[in-house]
Amino acid sequence: MHINEILFWFLTALALFSAMMVVFSKNPVHSVLWLIMVFMAITGHYIIMNAQFLAIVNMIVYAGAIMVLFLFVIMFMNLNAESEPQKSKWMKFAAVLSGGSLMLILIAALKDNDGFISSMRGEGSIGLIKNLGKVLFTDYVVPFEISSILFLSAMVGAVVLGKKESSTIVS
């Protein structure tokens, strides 16, 4: 077996196992830590596909920043295995049903796609930062800028929400 293949299967097993553990752990903090493992495994997949920029951004933004905020909130709320609310049976049934149908759709969509296999061999240089930057700032510059405005509006929204509270306290 080629080394990439071994790595691929190892990372896949790791990602799936960690994803299961996210759902099955009783302790929310453990869930978050397993989720970080999932992100790390996916980062590994990106590296195998030679998508270095995506890999490292996935690590910085998702595994680094967003998960830290998750951990923050959970640590502060002091959620424990005991205080976890129990969902009703119908809720669980609905969740299984919708999750299953989502999986079916994904399998149907990806079944005929063979672009996958070529990128799995670590060939192609579109994922390198230079090429990605060129594509983003020439072919896709409008959607790129629009998405940045989206982020800006989210940021302004957060500031407005934060400001409001303090002004009511003062008044």
Partner: protein, 354 residues
């Protein structure tokens, strides 16, 4: 036969990298060890004391004695703590402290038995982003350790530490964008080579360097930003419940972090393994490439030692920030300053290229 050859090459390559990794880890640990000694000696010097002078000549064996003491202390895991995470915390802190060393070019390549051996573990073309990735992972060591101790002080310290690191990461990234616009490359080796030809980046980016340095102090949890271990507010900070070598790993990882971040600062702004005022290419003709590579490593090391001294110097000179002052400095001063620096750099580059 061809496969045999390939295997031999692979084996030699693997061996070379393994040796390099082992060497770098050993060097960083020894440097970290003696930084603790230097810290106490410099502090003593600044406060007109003698400092450690009992163990060995000039107290040189003091770090060994400290290490042995930590090893022989009783290992205590609090009953109500989360045991797996309690052990994972210091391990993570140490691992993330070491990981960054992989992309730092410790010198140009040396020639051993006809093989060019690069003194860099991995020259990835996203070098700097890798550093950021590892730094953002470094938060978990503190957070997990603080939370799993099941102690209010530890938790508060952990949250403080994490929010401080996240806040200063932003200004750090912004100050680096200005630098990267000039270099046009994320690979640390390329950045060093450009500085060898065109002068050190500190000349072009003094403001960026200053912001970066302040952020590095904050990321390492060093004074004046050592709020996660502010002993008069939080007893001992996030490692309060730790004892023995687990505490040792936490304390030690701080010094490893200092060493590695000094290396990053020297590489980015002070020419890395570039020997100042010397043309390496001309020198390697007269002295041989290997000697020059070793001299370059020496130059990098001298720069690193200077920054380590700066870390210690600042610690014994400047008092600690208050928490709101820390956040104020990070969000309201450094980030706008870094943004302005970025804009000015971009404008100048555009103007020069016109």
């Amino acid at each position: 036969m061809i496969t045999m050859d390939l295997m031999a090459i692979d084996l030699a390559y693997g061996l070379e990298k393994l040796l390099l990794i082992g060497g770098i880890i050993t060097v960083s640990l020894i440097v970290a060890m003696y930084t603790t000694y230097a810290e106490r000696k410099v502090a003593a010097w600044m406060q007109d004391r003698r400092g450690p002078n009992r163990a060995g000549p000039f107290g040189l064996l003091q770090p060994v004695a400290d290490g042995l003491k930590l090893f022989f202390k009783e290992e205590i895991i609090p009953l109500t703590s989360n045991k797996t995470l309690f052990v994972l915390g210091p391990a993570l802190a140490m691992v993330t402290a070491m990981l960054t060393s992989a992309v730092i070019p410790w010198g140009s390549s040396i020639n051993i038995f006809g093989r060019d051996v690069s003194l860099q573990i991995a020259d990835v073309n996203i070098g700097i982003l890798y550093v950021f990735g590892v730094v953002s992972m470094g938060v978990y060591g503190i957070m997990i350790g603080g939370w799993s101790s099941n102690n209010k002080f530890s938790l508060i310290a952990a949250v403080r530490g994490a929010s401080q690191i996240i806040s200063y990461e932003l200004a750090m990234g912004l100050s680096l964008i200005a630098l990267l616009m000039m270099t046009g490359s994320l690979s640390l080796k390329t950045i060093v080579q450009q500085q060898m030809e065109g002068g050190w980046n500190i000349i072009y980016q003094p403001l960026g360097f200053l912001i970066f340095l302040i952020c590095v102090f904050a990321e390492c949890n060093r004074t004046p930003f050592d709020l996660p271990e502010a002993e008069n507010e939080l007893n001992f900070g996030y490692h309060q419940e730790y004892s023995s070598m687990k505490l040792g790993l936490y304390l030690f990882s701080e010094y490893v972090n200092m060493f590695i971040s000094s290396a990053v600062v020297s590489t980015l702004f002070f020419g890395g393994y570039d020997i100042p005022f010397v043309d390496e290419a001309a020198l390697s003709l007269s002295l041989g490439a290997n000697t020059v590579a070793l001299l370059g490593f020496g130059a990098l090391f001298a720069k690193i030692l200077f920054f380590l001294f700066l870390f210690i110097w600042v610690r014994w000179t400047i008092p600690r920030f208050r928490y709101d002052q820390l956040m104020d400095l990070g969000w309201k001063k450094l980030i706008p300053l870094a943004l302005a620096n970025m804009l000015i750099t971009a404008l100048v580059i555009l103007w020069l290229n016109k």
